[in-house]
């Protein structure tokens, strides 16, 4: 029971270290240590270290935090959607929720784009509303009786997602001036800088992820179908609604500040399930930790591949995720699986 968490925490710590160390200026672990111990002693730092310390505090750490929180949100909500729909291909991106959240975020941005705390707070809220509308619409379109077949879910998700994306593009074209910034945001990545986005995202994320962390037992029950879950004592409709809302809130918080980043919510829960089994009490926290670590690694790669130019991290996750998706699809076809 302890080992997977231990490994995930080590992986996450390494990813955080990489993310702080690597960028346009490389800061070595030794220098990181000197800076940290300097802070601890309250001593003044010599010159190159002083600059590095500024880079770390003002740029690297907030970005690392934003990316880690985004990855955690996508991993956790991906695992929750997979459990809720009893479908291994459900992921915030593939079922259209991310695009729906993106639409809400862009609507909020196009109304007004003030870089104030309360202006920023409104963006995830708008993203949350449209994310919820999207997930209910997709579920309603895809449902056959009590179950949601894979093909229906993906088809409905793609259709609704494409519609939301088209509306988003339209809105962005209309709102001329800020187009470049919005586009960079949409492709995913830490285009937003500083601590404000991190702090704005945090309350939404804490609520959403907090609920998901306690949903493991209910998700386990739901794997046996609604009927058995109810016979075992679960108030099924209420539990499903709570989890759906929490997962959508989590997705919306991630999308509102990091744009649409695909496939993390698909790959991470899947790998965790292959390694550590299907118990959602373990799968949800592991997917949260794993999601944070994987997106950090992807973001570091995005910074170094075409250095000094930066790639949007969404491009990288899609390049790795799409082939993985096809592999899962083939596996699903060959053996009734999971």
């Amino acid at each position: 029971m302890r080992r997977p968490f231990f490994l995930a925490l080590i992986f996450l710590s390494l990813a955080i270290l990489l993310s702080v160390a690597i960028g346009s200026v490389f800061i070595s672990p030794a220098e990181l240590w000197q800076i940290a111990s300097g802070w601890a002693r309250g001593a003044a730092l010599p010159d190159p270290l002083q600059t590095f310390a500024f880079i770390i505090l003002a740029i690297r750490l907030p970005r690392t935090a934003l990316i880690a929180l985004t990855g955690a949100a996508l991993g956790g909500s991906g695992a929750a959607y997979q459990g809720l729909f009893r479908n291994p291909l459900a992921d915030p991106y593939l079922i259209g929720v991310a695009s729906g959240a993106g639409l809400g975020a862009v609507i909020a941005m196009s109304v007004r784009w003030p870089y104030s705390f309360w202006g920023l707070m409104a963006i995830p809220l708008a993203a949350f509303v449209t994310a919820l509308l999207t997930v209910f619409l997709v579920y309603w379109l895809a449902r056959v009786g009590g179950s949601v077949p894979t093909t229906n879910l993906i088809l409905a998700g793609v259709a609704v997602g494409a519609f939301a994306t088209a509306l988003t593009s339209f809105l962005m074209l209309r709102s001329q001036g800020e187009l470049r910034r919005a586009l960079a945001w949409l492709l995913g990545g830490g285009s937003q800088t500083g601590w404000v986005p991190v702090l704005t995202m945090l309350p939404y994320l804490l609520i959403g992820v907090g609920v998901l962390l306690f949903s493991g037992h209910a998700l386990n029950l739901l794997q046996f179908g609604d009927e058995q879950a109810q016979q075992l004592g679960l108030p099924v409709t209420r539990a499903k609604t709570v989890i759906l809302v929490a997962a959508s809130l989590t997705t919306a918080a991630a999308v509102a500040f990091s744009g649409i980043i695909g496939f993390i919510g698909l790959i991470v829960p899947h790998v965790m399930r292959m390694w550590w089994g299907g118990d959602y009490r373990r799968l949800i926290p592991l997917s949260i930790l794993g999601g944070a670590a994987s997106l950090l690694v992807a973001d570091v790669l995005a910074r170094v591949v075409l250095s000094p130019q930066e790639l949007p991290v969404g491009i990288l996750t899609a390049l790795a995720g799409a082939p993985f998706f096809l592999w899962v699809l083939r596996r699903a076809k060959n053996q009734g699986f999971w």
Partner: protein
């Protein structure tokens, strides 16, 4: 222990159960038999609260089952479903642990007492050595035993079994039902089992209820219900009934 009084259930405009009354005492196995479409599964689903009853009452010890929350109901009554597709990535232990759901707090914390109950339930169905195996690797008979253990872990006075032996080989059918019978008698459980195999019903049930087109046609001991005239009419096919050479229970043979 479990008392149905004039239970009626409809799917849309179609009435599936017509004023069904029956009761199951603690310590006895009652078999629900009847041709396909007679309403056996519907009755199971209505009693377990998955579909609403249109009229009539479902009571246990003075409590109205439909009025209870799913969690309260799950402390009275456990269901062993038809051997359906189980999520294969779960281990046997994780699966049986779900039987403790009605006793967990809202955080889903599992106590040592819960673990002990799960261990005993697995021991009871002789599946303790399967605990760490994944459910997907098990045979149909083993899966059904795991589902029975999950129901026992619920620690309920009432057990419902919905065609528990469908798709099982002969030895699994017999061993599962003789285990259920033993549990009913030793642990004083009230067991209601929908069975489509008449001879299994005759062999393992204390009483038999014959359901045809949503109505109770006959109920009583296996000898009283499994009569050639009743069965021939209910199943619309002529049958002979002979005696089992050892147990003396009736054996139904189609002509």
């Amino acid at each position: 222990m479990l008392k149905l009084h004039n239970l009626s259930v409809s799917y849309g405009a179609r009435r599936v159960l017509h004023e069904v009354s029956l009761d199951v005492q603690a310590g006895e196995v009652v078999a629900l038999i009847g041709p396909n479409g007679a309403g056996k599964s519907t009755l199971m689903r209505a009693v377990s609260g998955v579909i609403p009853a249109e009229g009539g009452r479902i009571r246990t010890n003075g409590d109205d089952l439909p009025a209870l929350s799913p969690m309260q109901r799950a402390r009275y009554l456990a269901v062993v479903p038809q051997s359906a597709a189980l999520p294969p990535a779960f281990t046997v232990w994780e699966t049986v642990l779900l039987g403790r759901t009605p006793y967990l707090n809202f955080l889903g914390q599992v106590s040592p007492a819960d673990r002990e109950t799960v261990r005993r339930a697995l021991e009871r169905v002789d599946a303790l050595e399967l605990a760490e195996r994944r459910v997907g690797e098990l045979s149909g008979g083993e899966q059904q035993r795991v589902l029975l253990a999950r129901a026992l872990a619920q620690s309920t006075p009432i057990l419902l079994l919905d065609e528990p032996t469908a798709h099982l080989d002969l030895q699994y059918q017999a061993s599962l039902l003789s285990l259920v019978r033993e549990l009913a008698h030793t642990d004083n459980l009230a067991v209601l089992a929908a069975l489509h195999d008449l001879n299994l019903a005759a062999r393992y049930a204390d009483r038999v209820v014959l359901l045809v087109e949503g109505r109770v046609i006959a109920s009583g001991s296996p000898q009283q219900v499994l009569r050639p005239d009743l069965i021939s009419q209910a199943y619309d096919w002529p049958v002979q009934v002979v005696r089992h050479p050892f147990s003396d229970s009736p054996l139904v043979l189609p002509d």
